[in-house]
Point group: C2
Chain length 347, copies 2
Amino acid sequence: MAGTTQELKDITIAFDVMGSDHGPEEVVRGAAQLSIEAPHIHALLVGDRELIDAALADTKHRAEQISVQHAPDFVGMDEKPGEALARKKNASVAVAAQLVADGEAQALVSAGNTGAGVLACARHFKLIPGVRRAALAAVYPTRGTRGEKQDPFSLILDVGATVEATAEDLVAFAVMGSAYARIISRNERPKVALLSNGVEPQKGPPRVVDAHAKLSSMEGIHFVGNVEGVEIPKGTVDVIVTDGFVGNVCLKMLEGVHETVMDLARYAYKEKLRWRAGLAMLSSGIQRIKDITDWEQYGGAPILGFDRIFIKAHGRSKARAITNAGKVAAKAVAHQLGTTIQEGLAK
Amino acid sequence: MAGTTQELKDITIAFDVMGSDHGPEEVVRGAAQLSIEAPHIHALLVGDRELIDAALADTKHRAEQISVQHAPDFVGMDEKPGEALARKKNASVAVAAQLVADGEAQALVSAGNTGAGVLACARHFKLIPGVRRAALAAVYPTRGTRGEKQDPFSLILDVGATVEATAEDLVAFAVMGSAYARIISRNERPKVALLSNGVEPQKGPPRVVDAHAKLSSMEGIHFVGNVEGVEIPKGTVDVIVTDGFVGNVCLKMLEGVHETVMDLARYAYKEKLRWRAGLAMLSSGIQRIKDITDWEQYGGAPILGFDRIFIKAHGRSKARAITNAGKVAAKAVAHQLGTTIQEGLAK
């Protein structure tokens, strides 16, 4: 692992409490649980103080590990990020990002508007030297497992931060994804692949062909070449690299397949009595199908490329997912993700 | 329907008999079955005469509707199309395409190397006026149904013929896909959408944004705007338009999800006795999941944009799929697909 591991007790995670689907209470509960499970992590809750205090009063937590920054404004899920942030100077995600930039916390966790999160990072954080564009990575469940903890998740990036990526951007995404997988999945040598319309090095548009050539000659990254779409659900590689347009389409497609499978299961439970017994017997099988297609089950997705760490939790995150996102953020800080990426780009 | 319907008895379909996964016998059986099911369609079998005659001898067929053109060479599935066609001047797919170009047949059906098929079309056929690049369309099963025959298939194009498409190409693909859906699915007003990373008109790379603006002001096409990847498995639209790179990734992804679901089903049958009863009860449910993810179950995919019709049957096609591909080809000829596309582009 690159860099020296920082003392975990030094770590403060800023939580953007506002604007998630389940309201501030759920995010506060997640942070409260974190204070109990991880006594070495400090939580800085950014949002409406009254709502936060009310939620804390109802939730078991270690008060000495939790502090609050009042910021009642927030960007709604359906608002246009740019306009909303211009109108709401003190939106919780912007205030939280500023606090992280100022060193009041080392990482940011938000379950709010994704675009606003990416924009807040772009405005308050600096890009890592050698990185031209940031990438939003998605963690999704696969059939294969990886790393010393048999992690059943693969990483795909970018899924929407950089709609058009150059060959250089794709190379940077590969390095960032590899560093993240090494640190978070404890996977010493993650397999990294470029998504293309064929496995041959010359397959794909010029940006992909050029990125393939560059990655093939790079050290410190386990580049296994191109993979086709068929490999995405299988999880045969640990990190899949593509531009934000293609990555977004693929991620949404996984979501669509999942919804289809779940609709069939719900239909079976409601409509077909004889199916019910079958589904009960098949539950583990159905669950596996669900796991493979349900990218939401994993709480956090990192925004990579900035000198500060931002873990974007899904808008529908429950307390459990928020707690996990906080742990992932702390792990990324402790293992100096930014330094690891910068070293990787230098190779 | 545009154009006047041609007398079906005039129609001859050229079948490239060579180079499919199951060998010439399977393609010949499909054509033989067509001669019995569709007495108005003539089949011109192009391939190794000895193999064809042997297969015909074993298969019930109407001899007066079947003729043979000897062409023993063919492009293997793993061969590079360009090199192979240069080396094998008389490869069956090239001979068949030439016969269609010469008017000996009105359409071509092949289950061989897809790249070789596209290349043979490009060399022997002319692009329809107004079409700059051809598109390979894939027909895949969805949850929704459409058209007067409740067709459960959606069309996605391009899936690999044109890796990089301009806005103009995407507009042409939309018109071609709409015309094909109208004729083959008997869907008078197919919903056509652009695949993007958001539904808003300004979402996506410039080519997609520009194509959106052009399609919005076009007549004779039912353009419903952008769809995200989540809509692909659902089949909420009838024709999804994208470039060959993204389309290929999406199609292969559907294949990967299908393989995953089928592996689980096979595993259940083999390993888990208690699952077996459950699977039996759930068979219709599993079948529906399979249908939704199995894009292979539909035999033929058209290569659109040329003045002649080419239906590419899947390499793993059995006789049944070949017969269907022949019927689809005849239908496209009878309803003058090319004229319909040309008229659509003029609007």
